[in-house]
Symmetry: C2
Subunit: 316 residues, 2 copies
């Protein structure tokens, strides 16, 4: 299992290419929520999402053979951009399987980073199973979305949060594969177990939520527009950590995610993708619980398509 | 006149509260423009615009008497947020005159920073003349939008550009009062005079452009939606610097600014306000001239209202 020490050790690999992202206080959002609201701007990363930290840590741990064989993975977009970015800076071949209906902006960004894209199936999990088999046949290094090096790498943003705001009370973090939530949970537990880390997911794709609550997640629906959290099955590697350290887990309806995107545009002037807006939607559900507290919302990514932006503005 | 040394000297005051902003390479935007396109993300500043750098440098140079008397200025928004931010961190009273139709998000942000807002008149210049008189009567320190400490402070972002991309060929920068363009011009001239700094303004508010071209700017129209560059008269203090060092000056129609806002949302997932999108619109006009070159677009701010965002999406 990934440890706090792994996250500390990931920092030099991450900061070789990236700078810490801003943790910004928003007065008008604070008034609305009745809490002291900060946003961790992982949408300011060069590929627009937190995952790039994990890719850089993974790349630093590849053997020469693995680098020569190339990396294979599957993604709805941000994980793929992260591995493509890592492949680019380390001159490693990268092949990414994506669902056929993938966000076109994310596809273009992955290709622009020099990675190959292979479309397969209607969702992430179908693309993933197909690519994993192909990687095995072709001898490529398969990169699981919950690879330990990825979890440790993305955890570095949680370190930045507790360093800049040591007396944070609550961190709300979106859960897709769960790597971001694992990083936050591990760091909070090591630094100050009183910090509440609350995971949040789309009600229209609740597999991880159901598994965390100990319920059957086998036939969980998966219809959210927010591709960053559109997982159909639970991930055992991250569930182990989340069950141990996560304080709570909330679900958010897609329409509330749309409304949160518009609130974030209005009050922070930042474009959040669906996953990146879920923490605000979840915080709005628990206003009494967070009243007067120091609350960090993790804006995990900003890669929203124009089509989705128009849909959000039409909903709000 | 402000010098390169003043900008260097401003850095410690600016970095006491702020970190350098990202200079990000955008592959798909580069393909579209046929150049190597980078964006300087001043929209990532805590108040959403570059001006905050200037306010911090000004605050560091106030005498005890000035601090006790308080600061008075006029603004369409971002300059006001900058002075309000500086007032907050130095516990100085700040009064900001704004035009009656000011961007409500910018008004709320200024108030949330603890500054007083006084509405007057239909545009920036009317509010400015009224407030300047009031400041004199009440013995407050009047802060001109082109105060030398402000120009030196904002110039620090230009230093970050040339340090991170020493072989930059062209910098496109929006011109309102002209402080940002002055900073870029002064830095480029000191570091490498071969760097072309190109100012750009809304065709619907061309006073600074006309003055720079040696034409009569007295009755220049002022009808642009982009309040960050909505100046009705030229500013002598910045004209002196711009005439000496600026390579060129371009005008952009409001509809093209709207289209650039949408292009930036699509390709960079950043929300730019009108002024912050002008450099992309201007770059699109001079594709042959910048072909294959390293081009930096200064995204000066991101404080676009929802109403304007809807207008932009309806135009594009």
């Amino acid at each position: 299992m990934v440890t706090f020490h792994d996250i500390i050790a990931a920092r030099p690999h991450v900061y070789r290419y990236l700078r810490p992202t801003p943790l910004t206080f928003y007065p008008t959002l604070s008034d609305l929520l009745g809490a002291e609201v900060y946003i961790k701007h992982e949408n300011h990363q060069p590929v627009g999402a937190f995952k790039v930290r994990g890719g850089l840590n993974l790349a630093a741990h590849l053997t020469e053979n693995e680098r020569a064989a190339g990396l294979a993975t599957a993604s709805t977009g941000n994980h793929g951009q992260s591995i493509a970015f890592a492949g680019k800076v380390t001159s490693t071949r990268v092949v990414i399987a994506m669902p056929e209906n993938a966000n076109p902006g994310k596809v273009a960004a992955i290709r622009a980073l020099g990675a190959e894209v292979a479309f397969h199936g209607a969702d992430f999990d179908t693309a993933r199973l197909w690519m994993q088999e192909r990687a095995e046949k072709e001898g490529m290094r398969w990169v699981n979305v919950t690879d330990e090096h990825l979890i440790a790498g993305v955890g570095t943003y949680a370190l930045e949060i507790v360093e800049e705001l040591p007396d944070v009370d609550v961190i709300l973090v979106p859960v897709g594969g769960g790597s971001g939530a694992c990083g936050c949970s591990l760091v909070a537990n090591a630094v100050n177990p009183a910090i509440q880390v609350i995971g949040c997911q789309a009600a229209a794709a609740p597999a991880q939520y159901l598994a965390w609550r100990g319920k059957n997640a086998e036939d969980a629906p998966m219809s959210t527009f927010a591709e960053g959290v559109a997982t159909r099955v639970p991930f055992p590697d991250t569930q182990v950590i989340l069950r141990r350290y996560l304080s709570d887990f909330l679900l958010v309806e897609d329409d509330d995610i749309y409304r949160a995107i518009v609130m974030l545009l209005e009050h922070t002037h930042n474009l959040a993708e669906g996953a990146g807006a879920i923490p605000l939607a979840a915080a709005s559900q628990i206003k009494e619980r967070i009243a007067g507290k120091k609350v960090v919302l993790v804006m995990s990514g900003g890669n929203l398509s124009l089509e989705r932006l128009r849909a959000a503005l039409a909903t709000a």
